[in-house]
């Protein structure tokens, strides 16, 4: 994201003008814009005009409109943000108070005006405008009969393809059926690979699976690359890595990112930090369960006793439509920071964030044991 203009008071009102560049930026913008904010952007609107003859004439006009946000929608596939709200700008075509939906795409600048720029919003803005290299990584997660292709960016993980085939088990002479089914399956995965993986964007490709499916696929891949003369694969052989996964389902992505050789590749990225933080949480939970807790009720209970060392929270809790609710979480994050704790805000678009979201979205590692937690119902 490029910062074009910034005019704001921390914890006070202000306006920021930014230009999203990558797909990731749309996600940040989505997290930045809340209901009640004002957003100004160039947009196109279909205007109806009554002709003198009584007929109607539709015309598309390009306008610059400012709306008061009522709803924000994020389209993961198309990487588009749709902001619905009431018009605030005086002009010939759209009345004040009339509804309009702004569509924000990459490379279209827009301005956000907020009444209060809280610390979370400033954090997001700071993060979004940080030009450090993004960890564009592609993971093919497979097991016999199921393969999924993911692109992992700085703050979002997108599932690009899913291939599912039924592969028969071996049964005497039917063994040939097994081999052909497997070959067909690999062929489909290769097609998805060619369609979605662009080595100019992706740093490296990880093939992960339980058992030997990954090795089988790699062998197949190199063989096919030779045969069909697929230059991109032959030239980038060194950027293809194998990793062990415990299953082919999406939640195993976490295990893949945790493995040491992959961790090295994505060391300083947000994704890696999130994976580590979540791992710490689970380790603590298994070693000393009274020093870890999750769920809003338990976390607040621990916070009241100033016990929180590390707070893990997903960004979708801040996207809450209820402003009071958002404020509550913002205050929680700020006061944890003030009392010397660390806070990890997880992107709910990553596998680790998704998992945290399912664990109610909030969890904490504690400074000292709180055995009372066991008596508190979830």
């Amino acid at each position: 994201m490029q910062l074009i203009r910034k005019n704001l008071v921390p914890d006070g009102p202000g306006t920021v003008k930014v230009k999203p560049v990558e797909d990731d930026d749309m996600w940040h913008a989505y997290n930045l814009i809340c209901t009640g904010d004002k957003v100004e952007a160039t947009t196109v609107r279909k205007v109806l005009r009554e002709m003198a003859s009584g007929g109607r004439d539709a015309e598309r006009v390009k306008l610059k409109l400012e709306v008061k946000v009522e709803a924000v929608e994020y389209d993961k596939e198309g990487s588009v943000l749709r902001i619905r709200g009431k018009n605030l700008t005086v002009n010939d075509h759209v009345k004040i108070g009339q509804f309009h939906t702004l569509e924000i795409e990459p490379h279209r600048p827009f301005a956000i005006t907020k009444d209060i720029w809280d610390s979370i919003a400033l954090d997001i803005l700071h993060q979004a405008c940080d030009p450090s290299a993004s960890a564009d990584l592609s993971v093919i997660l497979m097991q016999e009969g199921l393969a999924q292709l993911f692109l992992i960016g700085r703050s979002i993980t997108t599932a690009r393809a899913r291939i599912e085939t039924s592969i028969p088990r071996k049964h005497g002479p039917a063994i040939a059926g097994y081999e052909t089914a497997l070959k067909k399956f690999f062929e489909n995965v290769l097609q998805a690979w060619l369609k979605h993986i662009d080595f100019s964007i992706v740093q490296c490709v990880v093939i992960a699976s339980p058992g030997f499916t990954k090795d089988q696929f790699r062998d197949y891949l190199f063989l096919e690359a030779q045969r069909q003369d697929l230059r991109t694969i032959i030239e980038n052989k060194s950027r293809i890595i194998l990793a062990h996964a415990t299953s082919g389902y999406k939640h195993s992505l976490k295990d893949v990112l945790e493995s040491p050789n992959i961790m090295n590749l994505i060391k300083d990225t947000k994704a890696a930090k999130e994976v580590r933080a979540l791992k710490d949480f689970f380790t603590m939970l298994s070693n000393d369960p009274s020093r870890a807790c999750y769920g809003p009720r338990h976390v607040e209970f621990a916070h009241d006793r100033l016990a929180i060392q590390t707070l893990l929270i997903t960004d979708n809790l801040f996207r809450n439509a209820d402003i009071a609710e958002r404020q509550r979480y913002v205050r929680l994050v700020e006061s944890v920071k003030d009392s010397g704790g660390t806070v990890h805000i997880f992107s709910s678009m990553h596998a680790s964030g998704e998992q945290l979201a399912q664990l109610t979205g909030i969890a904490a590692l504690l400074r000292f044991p709180l055995p009372e937690l066991d008596d508190l119902e979830m």
Binding site: P168, H171, G211, G295, L359, M378
Partner: protein, 676 residues
């Protein structure tokens, strides 16, 4: 009678309760057990005889009692809740009522209990041996004979005879010899019982031979189902019944080699094939793999020398058509093992006797780091498949010089663990053998070192000694699809699997779930041979007609057209958490396995924590579940799977949850939250 082992209450559910208790008593002190056995049945006959006037009108309606803990409606005959194993509350009361009516049997049981001062323990243990008189039996069972001869009445009568016979011969033999007595008595005693409807006798005696397990509760909807004549077991035609035998164990313990060797010795592998395997194995420098290659046919498996998917093979023992399910032992292929071997009736657990290998199988691959080896994991899984009979084959005895010391060490170590899994000592048999040197496989060992201390059964005899579990032919057809085979040239599609309940014959209509498509059975194959009828327990390939082949997928279920099973994507389970490092939280993501289907799932709710012994809820909505706890949880799945309450159909009600490459929990389905 308190359970001796701490393994959860619920996972013994598949023993029928009467059976269960008798067995338990038997372990304790043998003298009492016969009385317990007799008493148990007598009580049953007694309570039902009181209900007789009613029973005629309500013959079709199931009489149920609601469990005080889980509110599950149990069949009246069950003393213990099928879901949570809590004793019927009114059971003690019913004993007292019986006392009032002048029948002294129940009174005796109550009295004996009070003498022992354990009123809450299982009330079937009776000290007084003389109380049961023949005429009390007469009272109890004659109305039944006049009406329709129900199972329990005739069983009771026979048991009575057995008891009398056994009193004469001063019994003190193990239980299986008792059952052989039962058989003898059945033969001698047909003349006595001919008052009852004689056609029903074969089926009764059959059930008796199976260790006396009355058929489990019929669901209400299944009540109106009446099996056709052809479905009944025909003893003349089929001399041997099928036994599904899973071969499990840690990686490289020699499962495939053992199965391959067995097949070879029993003449199921032609000389030519064997020669070919030997030659190819030698060429690859893997001479010792030649037998395993009979099972591992895919190039990948041979290349790496490990089994990856479950192989199916067939051989005949003296008593059974054995279906061998050779499972993979490698950690990564446990999902394949689960989906391939859930159909097992009994299992052979192969352990490697070599120093270090056995330990790796128990405690995981990496020495020093506590983990769970596949010997343990498989044993736990097999137990939760509902398998209660296990043969432990201590393989590679040649490598340790047939040392008795090593064998005893393994037996002691593993025995403790198996007991904690819920296997009874009496149903686990131990066989030291060497697959590669052909010691103790189909005939007794010849090696002097081994024969000097082992004179027990060889493996094949141990297989013959297994008891066949009860088969539910009287229920509507259910056959989970394990595998689908397409024959391109013929355009045929065949579904392989084991019939769990009911029966199917050529030409019958079946419904396929999911999809609810009606198909016709074109033919049925068992081990490449066509057969006309397949009944519960048979492992067959069913070739279907009139169906879209793409709809036929492993994990689906073939059902009776009027009784399709339900699909659900949200289920309530009762689970037992195994040894997991990471506790199970709300929102934990797991892989969910049920019969042959699998799906990604997450825990959405932990309803309550259960007490291990009583099965009562001790705490509602706990924070998390730790190892060895049991609980009621709700899971939501990625996609709907065919499932049924465990009480209705056991095979479709057993679930396995896996997380990060380990089996995290095993359990049963207690409720479908949103059945489709």
């Amino acid at each position: 009678m308190p359970r001796k082992v701490g393994y959860a209450h619920g996972y013994d559910d598949d023993y029928d309760d009467n059976y269960d208790d008798d067995y338990g008593n038997y372990d304790d002190d043998y003298d009492d057990s016969e009385d317990a056995y007799r008493q148990n049945h007598d009580l049953k006959g007694n309570t039902s005889s009181q209900k007789l006037p009613l029973a005629r009108e309500t013959a079709r309606k199931p009489i149920v009692w609601s469990c005080s803990i889980c509110t599950f409606d149990n069949e009246d005959s069950a003393l213990v809740c099928e879901i949570c194993c809590v004793y019927k509350e009114s059971f003690v009361k019913s004993g007292k009522e019986a006392n009032g009516t002048g029948n002294n049997i129940a009174a005796a049981s109550v009295a004996s209990r009070t003498v022992k001062g354990q009123p809450e323990k299982l009330p079937v243990k009776v000290a007084d041996k003389e109380l049961i008189s023949a005429d009390s039996y007469g009272k109890a069972s004659t109305p039944y004979e006049r009406g329709k001869t129900t199972n329990s009445a005739s069983t009771a009568q026979k048991v009575d005879k057995v008891v009398m016979v056994q009193k004469e011969i001063k019994l003190s033999e193990p239980f299986d010899t008792v059952s052989s007595h039962l058989k003898k008595v059945n033969l001698s005693d047909t003349s006595v019982t001919t008052k009852g409807s004689s056609e029903s006798l074969p089926s009764c005696s059959r059930e008796l031979n199976l260790g006396d397990r009355p058929s489990s509760s019929n669901s209400v909807s299944d009540e109106q189902y009446k099996p056709d004549k052809w479905m009944q077991f025909d003893e003349e035609k089929e001399a041997l019944s099928q036994l599904n035998l899973a071969i499990v164990g840690h990686v490289d313990s020699g499962k495939s080699t053992l199965s391959g060797r067995l097949l070879h010795l029993l003449g199921r592998i032609s000389k030519r094939d064997m020669h070919k395997n030997e030659k190819e194995a030698k060429e690859k420098g893997k001479g010792s793999f030649s037998y395993a290659w009979a099972m591992d046919e895919s190039a990948e498996e041979r290349e790496r020398g490990i089994t990856m998917t479950v192989a199916v093979a067939y051989f005949d023992s003296n008593k059974y058509h054995v279906v061998v399910l050779d499972s993979p032992g490698h950690k990564d292929f446990v999902p394949n093992m689960i989906s391939g071997a859930t159909q097992a009736d009994a299992a052979i657990l192969v352990v490697d006797a070599c120093t270090g290998s056995f330990e790796a199988g128990m405690d995981g691959q990496v020495p020093g780091i506590a983990g769970v080896g596949q010997t343990k994991e498989h044993a736990q899984l097999v137990r939760s498949f509902g398998v209660d009979q296990l043969i432990v084959a201590v393989n590679k005895m040649d490598a340790v010089g047939y040392s008795k010391q090593r064998y005893d060490f393994i037996k002691a170590q593993l025995g403790v663990f198996l007991r904690s899994c819920g296997f009874r000592d009496s149903s686990v048999s131990w066989v030291p053998l060497s697959a590669i040197e052909n010691q103790n496989l189909i005939e007794p060992a010849t090696d002097a070192c081994l024969t000097s201390w082992y004179q027990g059964k060889c493996l094949l005899d141990a297989i013959d000694a297994l008891q066949l579990p009860s088969r539910d032919i009287s229920k509507p057809l259910i056959m989970p699809i394990c595998d689908v085979i397409r024959t391109q040239s013929m355009g045929q599609v065949a579904a392989c699997g084991k019939l769990e309940t009911g029966a199917v014959k050529t030409g019958s209509k079946v419904i396929l779930v999911p999809g609810c498509e009606i198909a016709t059975v074109r033919s049925i194959e068992h081990d490449m041979n066509a057969c006309d009828v397949a009944r519960a327990g048979d492992n067959v390939a069913v070739i279907l007609q009139g169906i879209n082949p793409s709809k036929l997928i492993p994990g689906g279920v073939i059902c009776h057209p009027e009784f399709p099973v339900l699909m659900a994507s949200r289920l309530e389970l009762k689970i037992l958490v195994l040894d997991v490092a990471v506790p199970i939280l709300i929102g934990s993501q797991v892989e969910f396995h049920i019969h042959h289907a699998k799906a990604a799932a997450r825990i959405v709710k932990i309803v309550s924590l259960l007490d291990q012994k009583t099965g009562k809820a001790t705490k509602s909505a706990p924070r998390f579940l730790k190892a060895k706890q049991s609980a009621i949880v709700e899971v939501s799945l990625d996609g709907a799977v065919c499932a049924q309450e465990f009480s209705k159909c056991r095979a479709l009600g057993r679930v396995f949850l896996r997380a990060s490459g380990n089996t995290a929990a095993v359990g049963v389905v207690t409720r479908l939250v949103d059945p489709v």
